[in-house]
Amino acid sequence: MLESILSLFNLDFLYAAVRMAIPIILAATGEVFLQRSGIFNIGIEAMMIFGAFFGVLGAALTGNSWLGVLFAMLAGSLTGLAFGFVVITVQGDQTITGTAFSIIGLGLTSFLVRVIWGIRKLPVMVTPIERWPVPVLSEIPYLGRIFFDQSPLAYIAYVLLILATIVMFKTTWGLKVRAVGENPKSAASIGINVIRVRYLCAIFSGSVAGIGGAILSLSELNMFVDNMSGGRGYLAMASVILGRWHPLGAALGGLVFGAGNALQMRLQAIGVPIPNNLLLILPYVLALLIMVSVYSRSGAPAALGVPYEKETTIE
């Protein structure tokens, strides 16, 4: 038994770990920006599930899965915009709003599926976005198989991750986002539009989480299944904290959870004598353990979770 478990950790396992990490990494990349701007978004789950659903809807309507991805992005952005409206403009509590969004997202998509396609045995299928090995790069021993033999959406995730890191630390834009999350009052005092920065981060975060959701329904599968985001939004949030609010750190966190998921599936497949349901929660238990052991606010943006009130006087 032990030998067969050890034999699981091969190239295929690493490949699967990356594949499963990609949606989490995408969502986490957006969340890093949103949290750095001072907004705590528990509602990523909603952005992902909307992405997954509208991705399929778009693909079904247009017959083109790539247009589906565009639909997913738009749906995610609109969710981000709506979330932004509640927590930025109305200044609703971020935790409660995020939780509400998650619940609504899961419920609403399940509802829409039935309204649009009726109740049926098999869900509507679309053409999946196929895996596409990158020429040359996929030939690199080991790394090629692990990173460059994936879905094209994964490559988008890599590019976004690198861009996000550059924007965050090398551009005036990133500096503004960080300033707004650290001390919105002082940011405002030097003429930064706090509200606008936060809205843009919310929209960006929504759109990339939307793509993350679309990977699940257009690349991993080729259909929408109820609750298919399966808590990945929460894992993305855990990755952000684990990664100390750094895009690359968050990606590493995403990889840990992807690996947990891949391991869990493999253990099921070889039939370890543990009930499947217990194995399924492995990534989440992992998240919990990591959070308990490494969580600290150090490195967290100082104004994280605090609504910004514009009309306060500064003495």
Partner: protein, 515 residues
Amino acid sequence: MSTAVRMEEIVKRYPGVMANDHITLEIEEGEIHALLGENGAGKTTLMNILFGLIQKDSGQIYLRNTPVTINSPSDAIANGIGMVHQHFMLTPVFTVTENIMLVDRSPREPFLDHEGVKRRILDIVQSSGLHVDPDAKVSSLCVGDQQRVEIIKVLFRGAKVLILDEPTSVLTPKETDELFVVLRRLAKQGHAIIFITHKLREVMEISDRVTVLRGGKVIGTVLTKETSPDALAKMMVGREVFLTFEKTPVHRGQKMLEVIDVVTRAGQACTGLKGVSLDVSAGEILGIAGVDGNGQRELVEAIMGLQPIESGDIRIKGKSTRGCSTRKIIDMGVSNIPFQRQTEGLILTFSVSESLLLKEWRKPPFTRNGLFDKKVIQNTSKNLIKEYDIRTTGPDAKVGNMSGGNQQKVILARELSRNPDILIACHPTHGLDIGATEYVRQQLLNERDRGGAILLISTELDEILAISDRIAVFFEGQVMGVIDAANADLNAIGLMMMGIRLAEIKKNNSTGEKG
């Protein structure tokens, strides 16, 4: 010289108050213009309007004789107006360069230009004399350095008009002198500088002209060299003010507070106490002098039970406070005016009456059978507001909306009205106008004459000298010496503040005399 700024007939109303009542103000280029006025006179409001942080109800602003509209700080900045706020506007986790970089477009937009910005900062450091290290993290800088960063920030954007709201209230005397050198240099380079302060001595020293506000109105603008502190005080308050006190001789009673060889843990940002011993008796004021950050905060926190002590003992009326909670210590008759009014002294979203009763609400007559007695609370608050001359629209006003000086008065009213046996007063007149300062110092003296024991902590030597009976000087968590305040030797205090022990000073003096 030409006019840099003209604010004409500016009006700003808040519910129940005319914060600015048809104010007209003119600032020349190359001038240092002091803005003087009691707490709540409307100085900050007027400057916030000029800087676009709040909107005026009516009036017009002219820059170099052209009318301008300023709806936001960005408009103000674009028009060459910069402001250094009373509470700093810096991001602690950023470096100096990062903080400054934020205020202007990068030449390599959208990319940051660390090197270029650093070079420009060093240029400004050169020409203005504002010395800071561009690579230092702001959180590691002392208050004076942070203020220099704020001024550089303003100059970096090419501001020609500088607004400084009570810049010296956080500075040590030496830092203040350094700031004045910089301000004079900037004025000479043609900047117009608006300087808010409550300290008449500073007004006389640094300004060219003074405008005095009272109750939202301009009382007058005068040339500094044609006026005197007494005349200014009279304009400000509307009556004569006395800044020296008739002190009755001290009648020491029982020892109320004893601090015995107390040691607290030193941290990154604090020195900790390294064996501090002192005592305060009923009927006396013990002043603690020393540069900020030499253990004063640790002392207060140790007494109030907010910080554990590693060894030694603290006794209140002879009883050790080991293991006592802060509430217990408060109930033993200890009152505390904390260092930071906004974060430690008040909850800014609370109303005036809630803030006034923050320490007594549990007890009758305010609470009966577990319920608040609203009527008693309202009446008590109204009386305190009247007694302590708190300028507010009423007991239900939010303390967060009050002017800084009035926030301080709320704390004072709360702490003094409990008739404490021991009062720990940290910077009690911080941000208060001279009328209120006089009032507070008189209150502290009355408290002493009533038999209270007072520990007065202040970085302002004037204040310590004015009302203390004895003076202890702190340096790096230790007491350098305790001297009588009557005919205190200023030179000796200065030396002790720099870390020389009283015993050594005495020894040197006597050998000096012999030699």
